[in-house]
């Protein structure tokens, strides 16, 4: 074996920058969270137009996911990647562009979202110019990362790096596909997908934003920082191999579990359920691997706040990844979907897993970046306990609230009518839980501010240091195995044939199924045998060991693994007509209804109201007939929503007169006693711009919505005609308003909901 030594100085300045940003944006994101929790408990806190719940909720989710966790991921990735690859990041300049570009995107989000500039897609609300900026910055990050991989001084890439590779590649794919949209103005675009297809793409993205932004990079951080914190190797390297491949392959399929009992076809829903339940196994494999890494150092749980935070974080990961598959079981989902239970589930993961991993990482890393010790372990312990109680209070409140809502919405009398026909009865029962959530969230935020103070004092007590290490590069006497030998080895061949066999499961015959299952298991066993097969005759290295020395091939295989699930679900849904049956063709929205729909999107109404009536007796009694896929065919984007703080609105059209809607917007409580909806009185005076309507109609027509030339050219005139008829109707109820107010347009849209006229003779 030949060895040579060289000195490497790591770029820790970039790590310090991302660490500062993590702390600052963490406070901002959680502060907005506390504010919207306050708005749920006390509607009076909504300030129209910029600080209403509908506009602030996306700001909270984006700030916490992309600003707080995003910066934390980059800090962890830059720190660990350099050390695991024994080299400095390839480019300081690209690192700086990445840092400042990402902060610019966050500021852009913080400005545009309260202004109501939104695509309405959950966790992808940012409009197209910012989407381009995200793509650019992500590519810069990817180039720097893969360039560093290329110039590494350690041949084998450790498991943490695999998770970083999967995250970088998958987020790029998800972001580009989900944000495909046609711009119709600087701050407005329409998704190229419509209705069912748009919902499927959105939740393929939405679920995997959780998977590949909030989970896989943090798992990489877990695999690096927990061994460092306890000074012990990871419990099982073999388990980490299974964890990685099984997790990234299965995760991508699970998106449709957000759309159970919706108008999404059953085949896609069932795929989502099966893969979500299967996902439990690799998730817990990773959780066990993380927790058992602390074996032999359990005493540190009493004394070391870093280990305490990591152990709690991994435990929350385990809890969330048990709860996720549970919520994906159809009968559980029927109760839990659109209730506060989902909010509790999400925050168990976000506060427990992401928040505590971030805190543990910062407490461990910052003193080392500044050549000092942590300012106060007592404060760190205080942070842990207050934060933990805060999470438990939050999650318990949301579980109780969510299950109460689910049970009350479905409760029937012995005569078969709704036991709680007024939707607000369930929400009013939740008010006390909303206050409890507010207390829990405030405790967590307070604990986080204590951490910020602790970190600040730690930084003040030291000085930024450059880590310089002596790296020994060992060239082992091993066989040089080409990528061709790896690719054309029996291992990969058996794996791909095995996957093809899975297609045979599209069967209803029991014997056929059992035979296929045996064949599949034989393939899995064969794969494991081949994984252990010695490829390197000199050192006896296995197939996977050799693969770990070839990052490009590793990345390509990762890309294939994450593409399979998405392709199987999305390509048929978008390209094959029979995959999403449409029993009729709906007429497009009128120009005025379209304006109203855009106002609905701008105000974020979809954050509290769903537009999806599920096929349950209680829902039919409360809302009307179950939704059908054809009714959404013109919806660019879909507005199915995911949470019912207010009732479903899909069958709202014609249910109440125009004056009801007008008065309800002016003062919701005057019409619905006990409502927690913000007032939208400003809509009655704010005017829409008729001159841009035809641009919007033309844009939608280019996306396949069937507008005539007359409707495109005279869109403004048609909108005026319709608006004036609504104005006349309102005046009969002694309501005086201008015809071109946003209120009139919104009423036009709300009255259209669920009243989808069929185009006669169309196919």
């Amino acid at each position: 074996m030949q060895t040579k030594s060289l000195t490497v100085t790591y770029n820790d300045q970039i790590v310090r920058c991302f660490s500062y940003a993590t702390v600052i944006w963490g406070i901002v994101g959680m502060l907005v969270g506390v504010l919207i929790a306050l708005q749920m408990a006390f509607w009076q806190v909504n300030v129209e137009p910029y600080l209403t719940f509908g506009r602030l909720r996306p700001l909270h989710t984006n700030a916490v996911i992309f600003a707080f966790v995003g910066n934390m991921i980059f800090a962890g990735v830059y720190y660990s990647t350099q050390r695991l690859l024994k080299t400095r990041m390839a480019s300081d300049l690209l690192g700086k562009i990445h840092f400042w570009g990402w902060q610019f995107i966050i500021v852009a989000a913080a400005i545009t979202l309260p202004l109501g500039i939104t695509q309405s897609k959950e966790y992808a609300e940012l409009e197209w110019p910012i989407d381009y900026a995200i793509t650019f910055v992500w590519v810069v990050f990817a180039i720097n990362f893969f360039w560093t991989l290329k110039k590494r001084n350690e041949k084998h890439i450790y498991v943490a790096i695999w998770f970083y590779i999967a995250s970088i590649v998958t987020i790029a794919v998800l972001h580009i596909v989900n944000n495909l949209a046609l711009p119709v103005g600087l701050g407005k675009s329409y998704s190229i997908f419509a209705g069912v297809q748009d919902a499927l793409v959105q939740w393929w993205y939405g679920h995997n934003a959780v998977a590949f932004f909030l989970t896989t990079p943090i798992l990489g951080i877990m695999y690096y920082f927990i061994p460092k914190a306890v000074n012990r190797p990871v419990y099982s390297y073999r388990l980490s191999i299974i964890h990685f491949w099984a997790l990234i392959f299965l995760y991508i399929w699970a998106g449709p579990h957000h759309l159970l009992y919706s108008a999404l076809p059953d085949w896609a829903q069932n795929l989502g359920v099966v893969f979500s339940v299967a996902l439990w196994a690799p998730s817990w494999g990773g959780m066990i691997n993380g927790l058992l890494t602390i074996r032999g150092a359990w005493d540190k749980l009493r004394t070391d706040p870093v280990v305490k935070l990591f152990a709690a974080a991994v435990t929350f990961y385990g809890m969330s990844t048990f709860e996720g598959p549970l919520l994906s079981v159809k009968s559980v989902n029927a109760l839990a979907h659109s209730t506060d239970w989902i909010i509790g589930h999400v925050h168990g993961g976000a506060l427990g897993w992401n928040g505590f991993m971030a805190a543990g990482m910062l407490y461990w890393m910052v003193p080392r970046l500044f050549g000092t010790k942590l300012y106060s372990e007592k404060l760190a312990n205080f942070h842990f306990w207050i934060g933990l109680f805060g999470i438990l209070l939050y999650v318990a409140a949301m579980w109780a609230s969510g299950i109460t809502q689910g049970l009350m919405w479905r409760a029937l009398t012995s005569e078969g009518t709704l036991l709680y026909p007024n939707f607000l009865e369930a929400i009013n029962k939740s008010r006390i839980m909303y206050m409890m959530r507010l207390v829990g969230g405030t405790m967590y935020l307070s604990a986080f501010i204590v951490m910020a103070y602790n970190i600040f004092k730690t930084i003040r007590s030291g000085k930024p240091v450059e880590s310089t290490v002596e790296v020994t590069i060992a060239k082992e006497d091993e066989e040089d195995i080409s990528w061709k030998r790896l690719v054309f080895s029996p291992t990969l061949l058996v794996m791909f044939v095995g996957m093809a066999v899975l297609l045979g499961f599209v069967t209803t015959d029991l014997i056929h199924f059992m035979l296929l299952f045996v064949v599949s298991v034989l393939f899995v066993v064969a794969c494991f045998f081949l994984f252990g097969f010695k490829m390197d005759q000199i050192k006896g290295h296995s197939w996977h060991h050799v693969l770990e020395g070839k990052p490009l091939l590793f990345t390509i295989l990762t890309l294939i693994a994450i593409l399979i699930g998405g392709m199987v679900q999305i390509i048929p849904a978008v390209t094959v007509k029979d995959a999403v049956p449409m029993t009729a063709v709906a007429k497009p929205y009128t120009p005025l209804q379209l304006v109203g729909r855009d106002i609905y999107i701008r105000e974020g109404c979809n954050n509290c109201h769903t537009q999806m009536v599920r096929p349950f007796v209680a829902e039919k009694l409360r809302y009307g007939d179950a939704s059908e896929s054809w009714e959404y065919a013109n919806d660019h984007p879909h507005l199915w929503g995911s949470k019912r703080t207010g009732p479903d609105l899909f069958r709202l059209g014609g249910k109440y007169p125009n004056s009801w809607h007008y008065n309800h917007m002016i003062d919701p409580r005057a019409i619905s006693a006990g409502s927690i909806m913000p007032a939208y009185a400003a809509l009655a005076t704010r005017k829409f711009d008729p001159s841009i309507i035809s641009i919007k109609v033309k844009g939608l027509s280019r996306l396949g919505v069937q507008y005539s030339d007359y409707e495109i050219q005279d869109a403004a005139f048609l909108a005026e005609q319709e608006a004036k008829s609504i104005q006349d109707n309102l005046s009969q109820d002694q309501i005086t308003t201008e015809w071109d107010t946003e209120m009139v347009a919104l009423i036009a849209y709300l009255q259209r909901l669920g009243k989808h006229e069929v185009v006669e003779g169309a196919k």
Binding site: V465, S467, M514
Partner: protein
């Protein structure tokens, strides 16, 4: 009733598969590189030399 047959059958096949893999692993002692690579994150601190960065 079919679901019971199916679940029992699937469980038995999975258990048999797991046992076969376990026995194979024990027989071959194929844990070669596992320990070596899991030590990777613990290496660098042994040589770390931290200097104040005057350019910052």
């Amino acid at each position: 009733m079919n679901i019971l047959i199916l679940l029992i059958f699937v469980s038995i096949v999975l258990v048999v598969g797991a046992v076969v893999l376990f026995l194979h692993s024990v027989k071959n002692q194929d844990f070669d590189h596992i320990e070596e690579l899991s030590l990777l994150p613990l290496e660098e601190d042994q040589h770390a030399d931290k200097k104040p960065n005057r350019n910052l």
